[in-house]
Subunit: 354 residues, 2 copies
């Protein structure tokens, strides 16, 4: 077998210079059609595969994209969002010969380190920014590192100072975003519950520092107000089933417990139903429950869980395309995906009549 065939082997076999082989392979102008075909044929015959590290060194490109997930492994396992998102990303990357470099970190200090290391090692050419936070420190960090990125959802207006050299009419944040309007589904959910006669409603949300948590909170509360309902009781959690269960317990202990609880993800909703059943409450006759993300399991528990469906897979695909375009061309437009929709199932029903 010997060594891998290199560009030198191809050049020799085709009787041309290495440079010309490189030009032919990367189909750049300045190679006559005949020569190009000959070179390509030889390369195929020799099963030539360019060396990634040699290309990387020359082009200062790693041909990889990075994703740093700052969530507890426990939650990662329970929450189906990331696996689906990653599958979507993969679908695009593998077709483009790019790889995904993944890192899972616990605390914030370590998170910073990973971003810095990915950048200074030039380990990746760009990064996906998920679970966007308020005044997200990663945005200025990546900007200062000169690292391209794409955000899932729009960042704060705070970061609106996009380089003034930009054309007018460009989006107002430093990185392109792929937006999936999750508030649409939350608003539908509020109307759904209000229409069922619920008045005392609780909202068990994810960490407040994450933008999607406060955004959905605001959308839900706004829609309820619009529907003439009192403000919901809001409980903040870390997205784990454990905290979802604990929050449910506390809510049901109230003097006037809610008749409907909306959870920030499906695992918490399923845990909430568990607590209700444990206490002998019927769902939805005595308590309505809804989740978010519409995971597979939501369909198969009893009662099946009303949820809000986003599309992490498509989100991943679009994010990957957007990031690749940004890297290739230096600019990329924001993308707006179809909004999240309410999926009504058996866990929500008419409010109990006192």
């Amino acid at each position: 077998m010997g060594r891998k065939t290199t560009i030198t082997d191809v050049a020799r076999a085709a009787g041309v210079s290495k440079g010309l082989v490189s030009f032919a392979l990367n189909d750049r102008p300045g190679v006559s059609p005949d020569t190009r075909d000959r070179i390509l044929d030889v390369a195929r015959e020799l099963d030539y595969r360019p060396s990634l590290s040699a290309r990387s060194l020359s082009t200062r490109t790693s041909y990889a994209l990075g994703l740093v997930i700052a969530r507890d492994p426990e939650i990662l396992g329970a929450d189906p969002f990331f696996p689906s998102f990653i599958a979507g990303v993969e679908r695009v990357l593998s077709a483009e010969g790019r790889a995904l470099v993944l890192s899972v970190v616990g605390d914030d200090a370590h998170e910073q380190t990973v971003y810095r290391t990915f950048a200074s090692d030039a380990r990746v050419d760009g990064m996906f920014l998920t679970d966007l936070r308020h005044d997200d420190p990663r945005i200025p960090l990546l900007q200062s590192l000169g690292m391209p990125a794409v955000t899932l959802g729009d960042p704060d207006a705070r970061h609106a100072a996009r380089a003034s050299a930009d054309d007018a009419g460009r989006t107002a944040h430093p990185y392109p975003s792929v937006v999936l309007d999750d508030t649409a589904g939350v608003v539908e959910l509020a109307h759904h519950l209000a229409g069922l006669g619920h008045r005392r409603i609780a909202h068990v949300i994810g960490p407040r520092r994450m933008m999607h948590a406060t955004r959905r909170d605001a959308a839900f509360a706004g829609a309820l107000a619009e529907a003439g309902c009192p403000a919901p009781i809001v409980v903040e959690t870390d997205f784990t089933a454990a905290e979802g269960a604990a929050a449910t317990g506390r809510l049901l202990d109230l003097a006037e417990p809610p008749t409907a609880i909306v959870f920030g993800n499906d695992p918490m909703a399923i845990a909430g139903i568990g607590i209700a059943h444990e206490r002998g409450l019927q769902v939805p006759r005595e308590l309505s429950v809804a989740g978010f993300d519409d995971s597979e399991l939501a369909r198969y528990v009893f009662p099946s869980v009303t949820s809000v469906r986003s599309d992490p897979l498509v989100w991943g695909e679009q994010a990957a395309r957007t990031l690749l375009q940004l890297i290739a061309t230096g600019a990329s437009d924001d993308v707006e995906l179809p909004p999240a929709r309410l999926v009504t199932r058996a866990s929500t029903g008419p409010a109990p009549t006192p």
Copy 2:
């Protein structure tokens, strides 16, 4: 800011040759202590970070490890194994300056392509082999590609032809394995159910082509036989909650339905409980249910799910250490982790008296 500082900058600033800087940085012998300290100081001052791609080109090493997951995105999302496993891997890799390159593939043909591409691009220095299959084609494939690997669990004896040049007493398969005996917990579970008086027991397993599915099947059936129980009814699924639910429905439709159903993972068990409840069956009074993996949610549904706890996080850590050692030294011992244990919860109880 200008260019990144290179080894040349450090050499010039320290007044030595590039080669010596390289020696000092990779602490190899042949550098006087004084010189070494001076070089290290200068490197620190200049915030020197060696270029990964330059090192890669010289050393033919990518400083990355690969994981190819061949599961449907849906299942990936429902099954907590991989996220936890990845978190464990990460914990070791990030400390060693290595990255994890991830790929999620649907079909087998694509899987082969990814392994080949990772190898021919030298994208990774070694690979994790999870969800080991019978006569797993990936083992000869990776061997032929000269790619180091570590397997989760022992592969078939078929691959026992480890190079004869090896010392005697070495493990008999081509790659080191990290073994976590899942049969121990399954056997405990069989005894648990038999002790509760169950006789008609069903086992809803994962894909038969995966070794852990048939291995657990054999262990479970063996332990039941030992306990004087009839052979279990075995149903094969693809690990999705959907198929878990469907299998449950079919089992409950039998003329003599089982009084206990054991599922190959927790999402299927939770879906199974859903179906039982939907049919008005009490769990565990009329039907006992058990899962596998002991995911977070298992604790919080109602009734809480008896399950078998492996430790994917530790599995990931050990697999990463083993693979890194294999790559560094050319050899690595097999690792045996503590066996999986039964976690008894509320979903299993005495067999109903007819």
